[in-house]
Symmetry: C2
Subunit: 428 residues, 2 copies
């Protein structure tokens, strides 16, 4: 049997402890499958004294993750601290500079610095693997980078924030308001310290930008992801969508268009009979579309100790087996700078607005849509509540810019109260 | 850029031509992603003259696949002929003996000779890859062997014969009889030359035995797969199952039990709200359950030119990238000989029988079940048709041996006409 592969683990939260447990409990299995022992030589975390439920005394301790990353007796630096700047970035850079391979679960770090880190690692023949950064335990980075490598990818989609999907399905199934479902998720510890990372779509947007880089051979471009959170979704939208055969999901979509790379993370209506529409609770799903393979759907736990640690260890075992693949599936030097195309692909939209009880009000709204070149597929007006009536409109395919023009136009009609809700209907 | 990787392709049917097309159309993409050109040097098929719609003149032609497998200018032998014996086996053995790596879509060959072939290949440091042999374009071999490698696998399940799922969903959605749906599938060219490979569960059983070997570190043991086809399923069973919230699927299940390895490929009832229950038409689905990752579900096209060629090329690209993994995820010398456990895991069963119109008939059936230690969850008796009435029974969890005892007992009651239908209800 070959030399052991020696890990240095920075970050001993849920995921870090999950990794330690797998290595302790499955030592024989891991060695049998990779042909060499996988061992931990050193660990690092904020508080040395804390009882984490697993014995850590066998491993050297470093207070400073940068020192851990530079240790002579570490082959692979496992970065499980999180955060796009500070210690995680410093330590990852130090590991690369010291000639280590890196396995990370840190989507924020790679979304912001993935290109620079990949260039640095690849310049010295080292790898950065990040299966755990996207969709938890689902081996989606592997499927896209390796299994589907012979495909030209057309589109990548995903529900990749379990907390948002939990909130939306609780609103639907239990009739909770957004605030009630949000508070429930908070009480269960599902939300990040900054909840906007979840409900604002930022966390899922990080993940989408990483998938897009692999899928389209482009440099990670998180700033170009159009982000829209779920905070404006009401229980009425969910019920109306259901009536029409749709579910509302926080859906990430990346696709290469004639005008450039479109990346969106936003609430979308999807058919309730589709795999995405049927996804309940905290589960994640990623849909990959290739020119040869057609549509591949992957589903599984998107977070949690076991699933995320499983993904980290899958990467570690690949390294133990001697597999070296470029960070984003092709050398970072060959990744093109993508031209960002905002809302390039037309789609039908669901609109909900409050119409004032005035003669000719509906006609004014219809005229604004017509002037923006938007034709109406379906429209429903409901009974008046005090002085306004809710109106639902499903448009035929239109561009986002036409829609935005119509939405501005509506504000000037004097018959629409507040801001209309507009949700894209994604064909999945 | 490194030396080209040179392929010899044996078999120019649908899949072989799909592979040729990918290599012709995506040469630059493949080279960029693997760091080296992937080229075809020679091909072999039964009929040289046949027009296959792609130019083959650039490649050397071999009438004999064994000669192709031995060519000096071939690095990887791509076996797309099919069949567990004869030319496919001879040529694969010749390729291994000549020090080539092998990529194959041949589930029958590996189900029957996988262990011997893996031993031979690994003895000289060569690899056999077979992503295309299981579930077409779905990268399930990769997910199980690599992505989930850190997991102890508890259970592997799958709908892996699209033709059977097509027949069952057509029966359900269009109200066709089994014969009508079978003939429709036949007319569409979905059936193998020997249809029993499909509807008898043999093809899917081959696939299951390969997944089980990887999942449990055991030598492929196809003869121990309990096989039951879909020929006995009636439209009534499908409707009754639907009434109770179930779908009927030809489901493969492999799991390691205290008594040994259980492998079944048989019709099962699964909840209609589960991903497996929602699977329509010719699509495949594989469910992998690991101790850390939980449940991972993979879905995609299980056959066809593009999807299967995509899987073949995924394997080829791994080899081009220098990735070498043992055929079944750990060295073939370390694979244990599994003890076969037939029907070790208890389950509830759905029973349908024709009861004669005699006093006390139902009591006799109930007594037989009771004597076998089987308790009844639900029972329905329908109106008499002539002299018999259909009776449906859902049992509580029981072993297959108790059930078989009860089924024999029923035959002696003198009140049950014909053979009862018994379908396992799988908890998914």
């Amino acid at each position: 049997m070959s030399q052991p592969l020696r890990l240095g683990i920075a970050g001993l939260g849920t995921v870090g402890i999950g990794v330690v447990k797998i290595i302790r409990n499955h030592a024989e299995l891991l060695a049998q499958r990779t042909g060499r022992p996988i061992v931990i030589t050193a660990v690092s975390a904020r508080s040395k004294g804390k009882d984490r439920g697993v014995p850590l005394g066998d491993y050297a301790w470093e207070d400073d993750p940068v020192a851990l990353a530079r240790r002579e007796d570490v082959d692979v630096f496992v970065e499980l601290m999180g955060g796009s700047e500070g210690a995680a970035k410093d330590a990852t850079e130090a590991a690369i500079a010291s000639g280590k391979d890196v396995v990370t679960a840190n989507k924020a770090l790679l979304a912001h610095h993935g290109q620079a880190l990949a260039l640095a690692a690849e310049a010295t023949g080292h790898v950065i693997r990040f299966e755990a950064a996207v969709a938890g335990g689902i081996p989606v980075i592997k499927a896209l980078t390796e299994g589907l490598a012979a495909n030209e990818i057309g589109r990548v989609m995903g529900v990749m924030n379990g907390t948002c999907n939990y909130i939306l399905t609780r609103m639907e199934n239990a009739g909770l308001t957004y605030e009630e479902a949000f508070n429930e998720a908070d009480g269960l510890g599902y939300l990040e310290a900054d909840p906007n990372l979840d409900v604002g779509g930022i966390d899922a947007g990080h993940k989408l930008s990483l998938l897009a880089a692999i899928a389209f051979g482009t440099q990670v471009d998180f700033p170009s992801v159009e982000l829209e959170g779920i905070g404006a979704i009401t229980i009425e939208d969910i019920h109306q969508a259901a009536d029409m055969g749709y579910k509302i999901k926080l859906l990430g979509v990346a696709q290469m268009t004639g005008r450039g790379l479109e990346q969106r993370m936003s609430p979308c209506l999807v058919p309730d009979t589709s795999p995405l529409g049927q996804l309940q609770g905290g589960t994640n799903m990623v849909v990959l579309e290739g020119d040869s393979v057609g549509q591949i759907v992957l589903r599984g736990a998107g977070a949690g100790e076991g699933p995320t640690a499983s993904a980290v260890m899958g990467d570690v075992m690949d390294i133990a087996r001697g597999f070296r693949v470029s960070t984003f599936g092709q050398p970072a030097t060959t990744l093109r700078k993508a031209r960002a195309a905002r809302a390039a692909v037309p789609a039908p939209y669901y609109l909900r607005l409050q119409l004032q009880d005035k003669p000719g009000a509906l006609a004014k709204v219809a005229r604004v849509l017509g002037e923006a070149g938007i034709s109406i597929d379906r429209m429903r007006q409901y009974g008046h509540q005090d002085t306004t009536a809710p109106v639902l409109i499903v448009t035929h395919k239109t561009t986002r810019s036409s829609l935005d023009e119509a939405l501005s136009g509506m504000a000037t009609t004097g018959v629409v109260e507040g801001a209309p809700v507009a949700i894209r209907i994604e064909s999945v």
